[in-house]
Amino acid sequence: MAKSWTNCEGLTRRDGLKLGLGGLIAGGLSGALSARARASSAADPKHRTAQADACILVWQDGGPSHYETFDPKPDAPVEIRGAYQPIATQTPGVQFAQPMKKLAAISNDLAIVRSIRHDQGNHGAGNHYMMTGAPPRIPVGCGAFVSFHPSLGSVVAKEIGAPHGIPAYFSLPRMSRSGGPNFLGSKYAPFVVPDSPNSSSFRVRDVTIPSGLTGDRFTSRQQIRKHIDTMLRFNDASVADPTLAVDEFYGQGMQIISSKEAQAAFDIHQESDEVRDAYGRNTFGQQALLARRLVGAGVPFVTLYHGGWDHHTNIFKSLDDKLPPFEATIAALISDLKQQGMLERTLVVVLGEFGRTPKINKDGGRDHWSNAMSVMFAGGQTPGGQVVGATDRQGYAAIERVLSPENFVSTIYQKLGIDPGQMMYTPEGRPTHLVSDATPIDELMG
């Protein structure tokens, strides 16, 4: 990897520390490093070749079955192929599973990767691997400065940022497991919106003044705060005074509250009934619509966490109810992005932590299976109407174009103009590659 050499030129471990001098306790480090990251990424030619400005990552927590979604196996024995028939799609020769009707109808906008695999068969580890691109850390001793790899969303937030003071990484309705910033610092933690945007009283939490409080009263609170805030500030950077960060974020918070653009991004009630209906009048549907609004306002990364895909029992009964509204929302999101002229610059990715076992178990379910999984990509200049890789005839294992979680996250980074091979620094000053194998999935890069 010549890359590691070009990247580390002239940088020593302690230069990382030097840049964050004094930030180790107080938190100035991530700020200093991100300033450098911005400076370097602006000059990086890769940034100019970004294929997308934003990514909406739909996370099917628990691990969706590849058989019942994008990788049907009609020729397998019944205990493997399951209850669903394959259906034809818009793309000649490509079949999806029976419930995926709306996505099948727009398959020329989609790229399905059927051959990502890894070796982490439990949820926590699988989440960690797919969400960060780094294998789960072995259980070593806890202690000072244990740090894990930052998630996709946090890295994107750090590298790209968002305008109007808006946080650059949202996660709805909760942070996905291992979806945090880790050593990048709190600044890049996801902004979590736990409430359902399908509720008539929905508001994004914390970004507007509390209900029942008049604007006048809020203004007077600001004035009181200004008056009573008498704590000394130490502006000499070598002191590393953490109050300076509090001031900075207070200013950013006020900017969010007072910015029309920011507030519009949060206000789903501005959408017409027609659009809201198209996404589905349910929590997930409206979350997807909110994600589109956030992306439209310049947010580069939104995770839509969708739980309940761990179908150890009664998988078909459960998916009969679960898949149709889910896939309809994804299809609506893609169609709407296309209509708004945003699909070209917005990457939509749908996946969970792994696929599911070939043989249907005694409880009518499928268990964890990381030897094969299907991942859907759309937008962000991803060539549509294609399937990348394949599993064997019975869906046991990825056998063609076998790809890794590293390839998966590298694809997202590369599309967003972020160099997946770049070096990052932990608070200890330890350098680490953003992705150890920085090879994106070529077929998706156009």
Binding site: W5, I224, S238, D247, F249, R430
Partner: protein
Amino acid sequence: MPDRLDTRLSHCRVVMSALMLVAFCSVVSHGEDLPHQNAAAGDAISFELDVQPILAAQGCNAGACHGKQRGQNGFQLSLLGFDSDFDHDAIARQARGRRLSIASPESSLLLQKATAELPHGGGRKIEVGSDAYHTLLAWIRQGAPRRLADEPVLESVELKQTEFALTPSGTAELSTVATYSDATTRDVTKMTSYLSNDAAIVQVDSTGRLKAGPVPGETAVMARYMNHIRVANVSIPRTEALPDGFYDDLPRANFIDDLVYEKLSQLQIRVSEPASDAIFLRRVYTDVIGRLPSAQEAQLFLDSQDSNKREQLVDHLLEQPEYVDHWANQWADLLRPNPYRVGIKAVLNYDNWIRQQFRENVSHDEFARRLITAKGSTWHNGAATLFRDRRSPDEVATLVSQLFLGVRLDCAKCHHHPFEKWSQHDFYSFAAFFGKVGRKGTGLSPPISGGEEIVYVSTKGDVRHPVTEEVLPPAPLFGTIDLAEDDDPREALVDWMVSADNPYFAAVQVNRVWAQLMGRGIVDPVDDLRSTNPPSNPALLDALAEHFQQSGYDQKQLIKTIVLSNVYATRSTPNESNAGDRLNYSRHYRHRLRAEVLAEAVANATETSESFSALAPQSRSNQVWTHRIESVFLDTFGRPDPNQDPPCERIADSSVTQTLHLMNSREIDGRIRSDSGRAARLAGSELSAAEIVTELYLAIFSRRPTADEQRYCESLITAAGEQRRGAIEDLMWAMMNAPEFIIQN
């Protein structure tokens, strides 16, 4: 999981690669200087003594290059050349010997790659015609022997000078000498790798030249030559001297002040002014029991004229129930396992056990003993969960050595520790103390792992060296132990750990407690005690460790000694001499309150409590026993992710999400404006506006208002008339959103 060991090995290599990468990226090629003088003249070239140093100096065997696991493009060397047999085999035999061409040495792949005559990912490392080139060439021409007859062995490496005092921007030269078994020596200065622990203070280049930065400070520089490591200490005192006798006239509370002042005096740094009673009060409450003083508690302390009132306060705090939860909460960060993997019941029992130890105020040696020798059911003895969580001798060994000895053995699992003396043999001999830990019952079955497991002492259980496969008897990292056949080896291990002859056990714990109270460890990171990471004040660390040992490892005594020192009670305000000091405690280092402490402060300020699932009503945030218990507040202000193994990473900095949460969150707004909260109580009371303002300042800022603040706030409340509750709420909101509330001053 057949590939589990592989994963582990690769992790280890990855970590080390990263470390090694930096260690060598800055090493630029300097082929002219060679230890072996007469390469061109036909002297026999030694692989170990001549060739390996070239590969090391050029970074060929660094973790980022051929030293990483699986090597680079099929060519793998041992990390930093710790295994010469392996490396000789890789160079001379593997790839069907095509890396060397004895018949035509110049066309050897090794040379053509190193000189970039053939495309080489690492670029040109050696110039054609340089001394290094000629050495390699001569070695190949001589048949590339593994060893020479009567070849001496490298025995030691020394720096001629290890203590340097430089002026700002001043320079000095390191000089490194290698001594061999035949009593010969060589100057290996330019074949040695150097790394400054703080390049802002002093930089070191590949020739061993030190260059001080523009500001005063101190740091260590590591020198490594073929697995031998030496450390030089460099200090750059301030050039403007302090007034004569400055430190002689300062009052001292105990030995901490003596030792910190002595160091500051050497560096010519003036300590900041003493903190006021109010600052001390807030600091000691949040540090020792993790909450704010109530208005009454604050008033009592501030009004007291007793000259001994700080000591009385500290004694009082150490007996509060919040002490237990505050310190148990910090230990839980170190021990708490992933609940998805280990099971929620085991996690609860473990948490209860940790709290029980602090409730009983067991000494630290007893704490270690109960944990490390734990036996029985994970449903009855929470400490046994350690062995449910860490399932193999090597996993337990790394945890125990890091937490209780400050020795990080992770690296030595896979290869000779590159910054340390520990070998694989040392590591697996240490791990062998846990070889007889038996487990029965129901093991792990993520994501629920609900079963009960029994930990017992088995009659057998061997730990083998992973390479030689030799069975290793339990052996401590240094010194000796007595171990009878039937003993639980863990008992002997704890005896050795806690004995007065073991300096690590006390040192790592005093350093940890010191860091929690003072904002930075004397050694940093706190549990990484090694010669290449020296303490900023060795005498202080030693004295604290000795004090801790003499007190019978009594944590309360240790805390008391630290917080009653004048050094603890220094202002955060810098002076012209100490703004840049981040190592020597010449001022208090401000920090944002930990998530649980800030959550508790909100509860204290508003007189309301957050309600947690799986906990009794009115529970405090530091009683939360698993991070699976939901709390938007704690997530926002940073706590470990329960999905991680181990879930112990904390982020201590600030974010806009935190600001917005304090400003606008419905929950916090609801608590400020609650009918059963402080604002409602005060508004409905007989208290005057003046009394209300005083109470708010005492309760929220732990101080009295200044005359100006008193006047201003009173006027707000008075002007509101009948609506005074709203004015009080607004004032509380303003105070809770000010840095004075969020940052410990």
